[in-house]
Amino acid sequence: MSNELIDFVIVSIALLAIGIYGVSVKRNAIRMLFAIEIIINAANLNLVAFARYIPNSKGQTFALFSIAIAAAEVAVGLALIVVAYRMYKNVDIAEFRSLKG
């Protein structure tokens, strides 16, 4: 294998930084969800990379758990966005001011 651990870690740092930029700047709720997905993927890449180089099977197991939980999170997040869109006719998070159902 010609790739080193540091290469994967640097890509993962770049993805994390892009995701944090998205979460902090974007006001569109769906775009924020994109950014969260990118952050979760950076974490998974880190888990699998360290698991390959240690070597250990636990990292892959955790990555699989993390992917499954991310699927649940996206389903609930998108349902929340749909409900908020129906109430406010908008996807701007600055407009979501009330918690009243």
């Binding site: 294998m1 010609s2 790739n3 080193e4 651990l5 540091i6 870690v9 890509v11 740092i13 770049a14 993805l15 994390l16 930084a17 892009i18 995701g19 944090i20 930029y21 998205g22 902090s24 700047v25 006001r27 569109n28 769906i30 775009r31 969800l33 994109f34 997905e37 990118i38 993927n41 998974n44 890449l45 699998v48 990379a49 698991a51 390959r52 070597p55 099977s57 892959q60 197991t61 990555a63 699989l64 758990f65 992917i67 499954a68 991310a70 699927a71 649940a72 996206v74 389903a75 609930v76 998108l78 349902a79 929340l80 749909v82 409900v83 869109y85 908008n90 996807v91 701007d92 600055a94």
Partner: protein, 170 residues
């Protein structure tokens, strides 16, 4: 040093991650997000973890990306191109991103993992299955319950009560 395949996947992944956040249309944004997720699956293949790569493709590209695409198509057309951004906030975000990259990069480079390489054989997926069913079985059961409850929660949240009441009164 990294090889050509790695560099190609890096360009695809990071480029489409930036595109997913910056492209004007949300539909193209979600398609670029698929590119990022596929690139991560490519990294998993490079890391000799084909099982995780297949899982990534099945769950992320097969269900999450398609779910996002359908939700984007459900919202109104002008909201797909909706973009309100503070200029100052944007610059602050870019600054935060660069600071984060430099700081974390410096920490990683100063740690001892700089030249770690491995000749160990890749881990067989049978080991992962064994892990799941022996040591981690409570977590596996819990995960199944969480998935089921999240699907039920999503369905109840997105239900339209007004239409149901109308049908009942008719």
């Amino acid at each position: 040093m990294a090889d050509a395949v790695f560099l190609a996947i890096s360009v695809l992944t990071i480029g489409s991650a930036i595109a997913a956040l910056e492209v004007r249309s949300l539909i193209y944004g979600s398609i670029s997000l698929m590119g990022t997720l596929g690139g991560i699956a490519g990294y998993f293949l490079l890391l000799d973890s084909p099982f995780v790569a297949m899982f990534q493709i099945a769950v992320y590209i097969g269900s999450i990306a398609v779910l996002i695409l359908f939700t984007v198509m459900l919202v109104r057309r002008q909201l797909i191109f909706f973009k309100v951004e503070d200029k100052r906030r944007r610059y602050a975000g870019v600054g935060l991103m660069l600071v984060m990259m430099v700081a974390l990069g410096a920490i990683i480079l100063s740690s001892g993992i700089k030249t770690i390489q491995t000749d160990a054989p890749p881990i067989d997926f049978r080991t992962i299955g064994e892990d799941f069913l022996t040591y981690y079985w409570p977590a596996l059961v819990l995960m199944a319950l969480i998935l089921a409850s999240s699907v039920i929660g999503a369905l109840t949240l997105a239900r339209r009560e007004d239409i149901e009441n109308e049908q009942r009164t008719n």
